[in-house]
């Protein structure tokens, strides 16, 4: 076999298998961004996707219950009741009127079941520089 062919096959195997793994990972973790208004227009399979929604926390709606935290997100004049069921503690920046980003899925009753919540304080401050790391529960300051 030609040397070039050999290298070609080697490279091909690597690229194809990595592509396959990427495709698997994509299927497992893809999440759709929507606004609160768009959520109400979703139909069929689109409602079953993993979703990410942003909005402002309505003042006075944060209710801490056992095993969950309920609150209402507002955006574009629409409201969305959210129930946070994740195990991570909510970020320190999650308070009334803060901007929040929730990730999870739509419940049958039209409410949102969130597994992750990120929040940014309403008070104005900027993102951290460099490689500031904001993994899920603590994305507070970058957004």
């Amino acid at each position: 076999m030609q040397r070039r062919t050999k290298f070609g096959i080697g490279i091909g195997i690597i690229v194809v298998s990595m592509g396959f793994l990427a495709w698997l990972g994509y299927g497992e973790s893809k999440t759709y961004y929507h606004t609160i208004a768009e959520l109400q227009t979703l139909h069929g399979t689109a409602r079953a996707h993993r979703l990410r929604v942003g909005g402002t926390v309505e003042p006075g709606t944060i209710k801490r219950l056992s095993g969950r935290v309920n609150f209402v997100l507002a955006g574009e004049g629409k409201l969305l009741p959210v129930s946070y069921v994740g195990s991570e503690p909510l970020p320190d920046t999650f308070v009334d009127k803060s901007q929040a980003l929730v990730e999870g899925s739509l419940g049958n009753d039209g409410s949102f079941v969130a597994e992750h919540v990120q929040a940014k304080c309403a008070s104005k401050y900027e993102a951290a520089p460099g490689g500031d790391r904001k993994p899920d529960s603590a994305k507070a300051s970058t957004m």
Partner: protein
């Protein structure tokens, strides 16, 4: 001082402009006076940037609360230490900081090579000035850090006013790592400008030979080292401050810092093919172009929040400038390449699958695949919105699925590559070099399996770590043994001697060893455990072999915040071990709170305790405890990587003992039997 700083920035912009235009004129006319004046304008621009940065620092230290940037990022009670960090804690300041670090590199290059490489340097100077102009444009006209607070006065004219105190620095940034992490990472980002400028300059000048690679090797190593440290310090900051028990979350900003590291690492390896065999010239030039563009992209992602933000969160307009600059850089690179591509013809071809060349080739391929995967995953929300109506993001499973196997293949190549011969490796040498390491690694694999490591990737990872360690150990041992047989020094002293004689090769091995330690640490992640419990004074929580006993609380008012601490006694095997104090801090100025994690770290595992706040129902404080095996190895590995990089930067010590007096030709053509065996002098190693 704000006027002084503003003015210095404006002058710096003009000087950089002259260095650029004058430099092009100098290249056209070859007039020595023009060459000199362009260089001096470049140096002046750097000096002015230093002055501007100095005045912003001064404004922070003098509590000048009429400057908008100072108001937003500092307050009177902020510790001195963090007033320095405040410099780069926001948009305007960190862009100035970019210019500042770049200026350090630029002025060093311009001074070091002021009387050398006369054909090449004007081109390099023009490229560097071009990059500086972009950042100075942002500093002067888009995100000026010297803006003052002003409001319309009685007669309608703007009047400057001063605030009594500033808004304070984000609590997340009030942590020692945050003072050293951004400078490191930014030094990495800016540092890759130097090899980029030399590569592009050499291409434009059609500068003969591989000289630009020799010239830039040290600069690339320095940038790479800063980038590595920046990434690891950032990971450590995330681990110690954010309190989620992990160090890497595939966050867009993290990914942004990883991308140029991946291509930079590929570049460091593939230039060796060009140095030794005259191959991969096109590839190398494009790798360094790509690395630079990824550095710009990294700054863009960090600064603009283009990916992490959703519709609801405001986006910064600064992104457009970066995208424009990226496109411009790409266009310039493409044109330079198309016009001069005949200059990049390869002198050799690949000979065999089992050779040093092919191991570099696969190393590069793998690093590039990883880079593409991380890049596409990071930018997926942006691209998906372009190509379809919905904005889709991908999460950790996507990145892990691709990058874990890639990491393991790389680890394998780390062990194999340096021991393969150039061109073609014989079966005999394969047996000699890899026989023992394979046996040792297999035994280690079995031992680790019996000890209870059943997670597939962790098992493979640890086995490979042992394999790579033994190949590296064998290299040091063989070389040191020869030196010992001549000098009679101890094996350790001989190993040090060996390293100093070929710093590049053995320093490289030390860097590889550091990477191995990091991989050991990463393998531990599969066994992380955590538990959460409501606590009151006197209650206990068990995790692993540890028992946590909550003794009580105390609170303390500090200058800038009040802290509330849990007093936790840690027991191991029914014996009291130590006290830990997880803490919550409340910052009055900006009404935010922060977590201080308490960590008991050993080589075996980290006991990681977070004071997670109060359970709203029971009104009791909550402890979240994590047990993270082997994390410490990651930080140790980082230190070893830095040490190894420093070694590679040292000049080689002359091998006086062995080769003193031997004529140059004789050394290579008639090696004595003894030098041949481990062949320190002969085999072209990892250098």
């Amino acid at each position: 001082m704000d006027v002084f700083g503003s003015f210095a920035l404006l002058l710096a912009f003009l000087c950089a402009g002259y260095a650029f235009v004058g430099g092009i004129a100098a290249i056209r006319t070859r007039h020595p006076l023009l060459v000199k004046s362009a260089r001096q304008a470049g140096i002046a621009a750097c000096g002015l940037i230093f002055l501007a940065t100095g005045s912003l620092v001064y404004l922070f230290f003098s509590d000048s609360y009429w400057v908008s940037y100072v108001v937003s990022h500092s307050n009177r009670d902020l510790a001195t230490f963090y007033k320095i960090a405040a410099l780069w804690s926001g948009q305007e300041g960190s862009l100035l900081f970019w210019s500042f670090l770049l200026a350090i590199y630029v002025i060093s290059v311009l001074l070091v090579y002021r009387n050398k490489n006369g054909e090449l340097m004007p081109y390099v100077g023009v490229v560097l000035a071009g990059v500086q102009i972009f950042f100075l444009t942002l500093n002067n006209f888009v995100a000026n850090p010297f803006k003052v607070l002003a409001s319309p006065g009685a007669n309608g004219a703007l009047e400057i006013f001063t605030r009594a105190d500033g808004n304070g620095l984000t609590p997340l940034l009030q942590y020692p790592e945050m003072v050293i992490h951004p400078p490191n990472l930014y030094s990495g980002y800016t540092g890759f400008t130097i090899p980029f400028a030399f590569a592009l300059g050499a291409l434009l000048a059609r500068y003969p030979g591989e000289k630009w690679i020799h010239l830039t090797r040290k600069w690339t190593m320095i940038a790479w080292c800063f980038q590595t440290m920046g990434i690891l310090l950032g990971a450590h900051w995330a681990y110690a401050v954010l309190g989620w028990g992990g160090y890497w979350g595939w966050d867009p900003v993290e990914n942004a810092s990883l991308l140029p590291w991946l291509t930079g690492t590929a570049f460091l390896h593939s230039v060796m093919m060009q140095e030794k065999r005259g191959m991969m010239k096109v590839w190398n030039v494009w790798l360094v172009f790509t690395t630079f563009m990824l550095c710009i992209l990294g700054t863009l992602l960090t600064r603009s929040g283009v990916v992490s933000s959703v519709h609801a969160f405001a986006q910064s307009s600064i992104g457009n400038y970066f995208v424009g600059f990226l496109l411009l850089v790409f266009a310039v690179c493409l044109v330079a390449y198309v016009k001069n591509r005949d200059y990049l013809k390869s002198e050799n071809q690949l000979d065999s699958m089992v050779s040093r060349e092919s191991s570099f080739l696969f190393n590069n391929l793998i690093l590039l695949v990883s880079c593409i995967a991380v890049l596409s995953g990071t930018l997926f929300p942006v691209f998906s919105e372009w190509f379809s109506s919905s904005r889709i993001s991908v999460g950790a499973p996507f990145f892990n699925k691709v990058n874990i196997p890639i990491g393991l293949i790389l680890l394998f190549l780390t062990g194999v590559g340096p021991l393969l011969a150039w061109r073609k490796t014989s079966t005999d040498s394969l047996k000699r070099n890899f026989g023992w390491p394979v046996v040792v690694a297999l035994i280690a694999g079995v031992v680790v399996f019996v000890l209870g490591v059943r997670e597939f990737f962790s098992l493979v990872c640890l086995t490979l770590c042992v394999f790579v360690t033994s190949t590296i150990g064998m290299e040091f041992f063989r070389g040191a043994r020869v030196i010992r047989s001549r000098s009679g020094a101890s094996l350790l002293a001989s190993a040090v001697d060996l390293t100093m004689r070929n710093t590049r090769r053995y320093g490289g091995y030390i860097v590889h060893m550091g990477m191995v330690l990091i991989f050991v640490g990463l393998a531990g992640a599969a066994f992380n455990r955590d538990t959460q419990k409501d606590m009151q004074s006197g209650s206990t929580l068990d995790i692993g072999q540890y028992r946590l006993l909550l003794q009580g609380f105390d609170s303390k008012a500090e200058k800038n915040y009040t802290s509330e601490r849990m007093i936790v006694e840690v027991w191991r095997d029914n014996k009291p071990l130590m006290m830990l104090y997880p803490e919550r801090r409340f910052f009055q100025t900006n009404e935010q709170s922060g977590t201080m994690v308490a960590i008991y770290s050993t080589l075996r595992e980290d006991l990681y305790i977070v004071y997670a706040g109060e359970n709203p129902e029971t009104r009791q404080p909550v402890i979240h405890a994590y047990l993270n095996p082997l994390v410490k190895w990651i930080w140790l590995g980082g230190l070893v990587v830095v040490l190894g990089t420093l070694v590679t930067l040292l000049p080689n010590r002359r091998a006086v003992l062995v080769l003193a007096g031997a004529p140059e030709g004789a050394r290579v053509q008639q090696p004595s039997a003894q030098t041949l065996a481990p062949s320190i002098a002969l085999r072209e190693g990892h250098d």
